[in-house]
Amino acid sequence: MRRTSFNLAGVLVAGVLLFGAGCHKETAPAAAPAGPGAPPATPPPAHVDGTPHTDAVEGAWRTAGLAPEGFAALQPVPYGASYCEEGRVQSIDTVVCEYRDQDALAKGQAGLMDQWGREGGHTGVAYHSKLTMIAIVDRARHDPNGKIIHQAIDAFRKL
């Protein structure tokens, strides 16, 4: 009898925990990768002329003594951009996006900041120069005083 009761208790508790976990998955990433069955959408993303390209941004960071790593193109391209890469700078999650016009840039930047704000990172920043935006979110307090983020922005705006 006692054993049965405890088994029942365990099942109930597990159910409640699962239910709770499910309830709090409220924010879906804006750029969910296309599933295997998804139809082939747009052509592969291309860089935008007339604005700093992602590789130039990463180069500027290296020159500034930072260590960008793991940058890869995002597809489909999120945040209304024409081209985006995601990676890390000194272990801080970073996105670089290129836009075709100011309107798309403004919307994309605002949407990204709004999403990150809801997700609850310690620090988040989005900054643009011409039609290229960099966005950095420090989720794990790698940069409590913002020194790295400031350095990354400073290098970027010198491009």
Partner: protein
Amino acid sequence: MRRTFVFVGFLVACSVGLAGTASVAHAEAVQYMSRHPIPKRVGHGFCEIDVPHFHDYPPSDPRLYRQVNGQNYFVGDPTPFGYDGPRYSFYGPHPIADPNVQLGGTSYCYLEGPHSHWYAPPPQAHFEMKGGAYWYTGAYEPSFYADQPRFVVVNDVYAPMVYERPVIDVAFAPPAFHAEFLVGGGPGWRYAPGWRENPGWRGPGPGPGWRGPGPGPGWRGPERREMVMRERHEEFRHEEHREWEHGHDHGWHGGPPGHEPGGPHGGWRGGPPGHEPGGPHGGWHPGPGPAAHAGPPGGGWHGGGGGPHPGGGGHGNQFHR
């Protein structure tokens, strides 16, 4: 069996509670417009990000911020909060002239006396650089006076702080400097009875370093006094030196030069104001009396200071953009 259900209920309640805790752990994003101090409960020091950004914590002290479109802009002197970038010295209240932010109209810094900011005013702004500091020489808009009661409390934050304030000799004040001294503003920010709004006077005067005796009988809370330096500048300097000559060897008694005993503020019987350790860095510049550590009057501390400070590198343009 009944005990089992009680146990299950307890566990369910705990689980729900934990889930709730997890959801509130995602603190609301708080927007900041530029650099700002980091609250002690979060860490320490100064956030160096000089573009709009968010954190998961609110400002440490709302008196140090101005809210513009939901964004918090730090309006204080960053020096005591661990800021180690370039600094520029200012004297007295002035329009906020940070070229990197848009505050949606003229907003004012209400800091009294000598203080620093991370920005230098743009050339078109009405500031004059004299004696290593920026002096505001333009007119104050009505909003300056209207907002004063709300924002003058920023001085209360700095009043008890001990840190290296810029040393500014008011003798360098440009003729067009038209200071607005904001008297009062809350506990901890008090002028000495008998203090005169006098640019040449380096006794108990305005400034965050001043912690003199409390207000006298005539105290009516915050009030604004106006001082036009152009007319009385030299006269006050003479008074100051005369008083030093007479008062030096006899200790510090009575008010500052020209003080009318029994005046509206009551009698001054106190010693010199609480002098900040580390020399004459504060708004109160040591004058006469044995407690003054600055040496003979007028010596050793004239000029100097001003911005950008050597400690901060002094290369604002390189630092900013």
